[in-house]
C-alpha cells in the first residue's frame, strides 16, 4: 500500500493507462445518458476497460514481482469472453433484465472471490504494526460481504424475473434481515478487534461472513415483488460497484477505485430516479410493502364484457385515433412484431396509431422502448404517458396489450391501494377500451384492476400474439 517503490517505466505506463481508463469510464457514462451518443459512449468505456486489462497483464508488479500464470489468465479471459459473448448475443430482448442481473452477479462473485483469497495474505508487518483494525482488512471484509450479497441477490432476482422463483412475503422478514445485517457487521468488528499474529488464523470467520452474506442476499431479494425488480437490480448493480471499489482500495488501484465508486454512486442515483418514476420511496421497495399488505377490493361493481375478434377488428378499422398501451404481456408473448403489423395495417386505412409508453412498462424503465424499437416501430409513434394523457379523451379506441398496473385507476381513486399515487396512463378517459389479456389474473402488484369492469371496456382473452394475429387477418379481410 505504500508508494515508495523505485521508479519503473512499466509502472508509470500502467498508471497512465489507468488514468486514461478512468477518464474513458467517466466520458462513456456521460455519453450513455444521451440518446445520440449512447452507443459510442458504451464502446468508449469498453475500450477503456480493454486497455486497463492489457496494461495490467503486461506491466503490473506486486512487490517487484510481475504477473505470472499468464497463459492461465489468457485462457480464463478467452473462456469468459466466449461464454459472455454468446449469452449476450443469443438471449431474447425480453429477457434483458434477467441478463443484466446475471452479469451483475458475476461481478459480485468475482469481488467476493478476490476478498476471500486475499484475506490470508494480509502482510504480517501490517498486522504487527496496526493489529487487524486497518484499512486493508476493512476493504477485504466489506468487499466480501457486499460482493456476496450482490451475487446472491442478483441470482435470486434473475430467478424471479425468469419465473422460476416466486415471491416470499412474511411480515417478520424485515426484522430477520435487520438481525442478519447486524450479525454481519458484528462479525466484521469481531475480526477487526482480534489480536492475532497472522490473518490466516481468522479464516474460518471469513467463510462464516461469506455464508451469512449469501443468506442475507437471498432473503433481501426474496420478499420484493416482481414489479420492483428493476429497482433492486439497479441497487445491486451499485453494490457490485462498491465491492469493486473495495478491491481498488486493497490494491491501491485507481482504475478499480474510480470505476467502482462511479458505478456505485451513479447506480444509486439511477435507483432513486427509477423509484421516482414509480412514485415510490426506496425504503418502501426494500422493506417490500408493495402488494404485500393485501387490501383486497372485495366488492367489485360491474361485470366483465368480452368482445369478439371481428367486432374488435371493425371497431379499430373505423376509428380515427387508436392508442396502444403495451405491457410485459406483449413482451413475453413476443408479440411486438405482429403488433407493429397491426398498426401499419390500421395506418393504411387512415387510422392514426400511437403507442403510450409508461415509464415502468415491461420489466425495466425503457424496456418497452427497446422491444418496440426492435420491431421497427418508429420513434415518433412512442409517446410517454404524461404527454398522451391529455389526448386520451379524443381517442376512439385504447388497446391495452398485456399491461395491467400501469392503467389501473386505483392509483388515482383508492388511497388504500399499494399503487396509489403512481402516475398512470389514464386509459378510462378513452371512448372505448379493449383489453387483451391471458386471463383474469392480476398484475404484478397483485391488485384488482377496476378498468376491466368499466362499462367502456371490452375484454379480448387469449395469448397476445395469437390474438393479434387473428386481429390482423380480420382487419385485412375487411
Amino acid at each position: 500500500m505504500n508508494d515508495l517503490s523505485p521508479f519503473s517505466a512499466g509502472i508509470s505506463i500502467l498508471e497512465i493507462t489507468y488514468v486514461i481508463a478512468s477518464v474513458l469510464f467517466i466520458i462513456g457514462l456521460k455519453m450513455l445518458s444521451h440518446p445520440l451518443t449512447a452507443r459510442r459512449g458504451n464502446i468508449l468505456a469498453a475500450f477503456g476497460m480493454g486497455i486497463a486489462i492489457i496494461a495490467t497483464i503486461i506491466f503490473h508488479e506486486k512487490d517487484e514481482e510481475p504477473i505470472r500464470n499468464i497463459p492461465l489468465i489468457l485462457f480464463a479471459i478467452v473462456i469468459g469472453t466466449i461464454i459472455g459473448w454468446l449469452i449476450a448475443k443469443r438471449v431474447k430482448m425480453t429477457a434483458m433484465p434477467q441478463l443484466v442481473s446475471f452479469f451483475n452477479g458475476m461481478g459480485g462473485a468475482a469481488a467476493a472471490l478476490i476478498s476471500m483469497m486475499e484475506f490470508p495474505h494480509i502482510s504480517h508487518d501490517l498486522i504487527a504494526r496496526t493489529g487487524m483494525a486497518n484499512g486493508q482488512v476493512l476493504a477485504i471484509l466489506l468487499g466480501l460481504m457486499i460482493g456476496t450479497v450482490s451475487w446472491a441477490g442478483s441470482m435470486i432476482a434473475f430467478g424471479k424475473l425468469d419465473g422460476w422463483i416466486g415471491d416470499m412475503r412474511i411480515k417478520a422478514m424485515k426484522y430477520v434481515n435487520l438481525t442478519i445485517l447486524g450479525v454481519l457487521i458484528g462479525l466484521i468488528i469481531f475480526i477487526m478487534t482480534r489480536d492475532v499474529q497472522a490473518s490466516v488464523e481468522l479464516t474460518p470467520y471469513v467463510y462464516l461472513i461469506f455464508g451469512i452474506s449469501v443468506i442475507y442476499g437471498v432473503l433481501f431479494v426474496m420478499p420484493i415483488g416482481g414489479a420492483d425488480m428493476p429497482v433492486v437490480i439497479s441497487l445491486l448493480n451499485s453494490f457490485t460497484g462498491v465491492a469493486a471499489a473495495m478491491g481498488g482500495f486493497l490494491y491501491n488501484n485507481q482504475a478499480m477505485l474510480t470505476g467502482g465508486i462511479l458505478v456505485g454512486s451513479a447506480g444509486t442515483i439511477l435507483t432513486i430516479l427509477m423509484c421516482k418514476a414509480m412514485n415510490r420511496s426506496l425504503l418502501n421497495v426494500i422493506v417490500g410493502v408493495f402488494g404485500g399488505g393485501g387490501q383486497v377490493v372485495t366488492d367489485v361493481a360491474g361485470s366483465i364484457k368480452e368482445i369478439s375478434i371481428p367486432d374488435a377488428a371493425v371497431l379499430l378499422s373505423y376509428s380515427k385515433k387508436v392508442v396502444i398501451v403495451p405491457g410485459y404481456g406483449l413482451a413475453v408473448a413476443q408479440a411486438q412484431h405482429i403488433c407493429h403489423e397491426l398498426d401499419k395495417l390500421l395506418d393504411e386505412k387512415g387510422v392514426e396509431v400511437k403507442y403510450a409508453i409508461h415509464p415502468v412498462a415491461g420489466r425495466m424503465p425503457g424496456h418497452m422502448n427497446v422491444l418496440l424499437a426492435e420491431a421497427d416501430v418508429p420513434y415518433e409513434q412512442l409517446i410517454e404517458s404524461d404527454e398522451i394523457n391529455p389526448d386520451l379523451p379524443n381517442t376512439d379506441v385504447l388497446v391495452v396489450i398485456g399491461a395491467n398496473d400501469v392503467v389501473n385507476p386505483a392509483a388515482e381513486d383508492d388511497p388504500s391501494s399499494p399503487i396509489y399515487g403512481m402516475p398512470i396512463i389514464k386509459a378510462r378517459d378513452a371512448r372505448n377500451i379493449i383489453v387483451m389479456k391471458r386471463g383474469m389474473g392480476k398484475g404484478y402488484a397483485a391488485i384488482e384492476n377496476m378498468l376491466f369492469f368499466n362499462s367502456k371496456t371490452r375484454m379480448l382473452f387469449g395469448d397476445a400474439k395469437s390474438t393479434l394475429q387473428s386481429l390482423v387477418n380480420e382487419v385485412k379481410n375487411l
Binding site: A52, H60, I114, M117, G248, A255, G259, G264, M364
Partner: protein, 100 residues
C-alpha cells in the same frame, strides 16, 4: 481517535478519489431520460466489471493450485461481467439507433 486520523492520513488519496467520484457519478447521471435507464444501468453494470483487474492480480500472484483454481474462476466471472455487460448494452443501443 488517533487511529482514525492515522487511517485518514494513510489513505487520503483513496478517500479523495472516493469522494470526488461519488459527486462525479451523481453529476454524470442526472437528467438522463427514462428511456435510457435500462441501457445506462447495463452500461454501468459493465463498468464495474473493472473488478476483473483485481482478479488478474490475484491469479497473477497465485502459487498453490487451490488459489490458482479460485483465481481462474474469478477471472472468468470478471470477464463474463465485462464482455456480457458491454455486448448487451451495445445490442440494446443498436436498436435505438435504427429509429431515426
Amino acid at each position: 481517535m488517533e487511529k482514525m486520523l492515522d487511517f485518514f492520513l494513510t489513505h487520503r488519496e483513496a478517500i479523495f478519489i472516493v469522494i470526488l467520484s461519488i459527486f462525479l457519478g451523481i453529476e454524470v447521471i442526472s437528467n438522463v431520460p427514462a428511456i435510457l435507464h435500462t441501457p445506462l444501468m447495463s452500461g454501468a453494470n459493465a463498468i464495474h466489471g473493472v473488478v476483473i483487474i483485481g482478479a488478474i492480480i490475484v491469479l497473477g500472484h497465485a502459487d498453490t493450485s487451490g488459489s490458482k483454481i479460485l483465481g481462474f474462476l474469478a477471472v472468468i466471472l470478471g470477464t463474463l461481467n465485462v464482455v456480457g455487460g458491454f455486448v448487451v448494452t451495445d445490442r440494446m443501443l443498436e436498436m435505438f439507433k435504427k429509429k431515426k
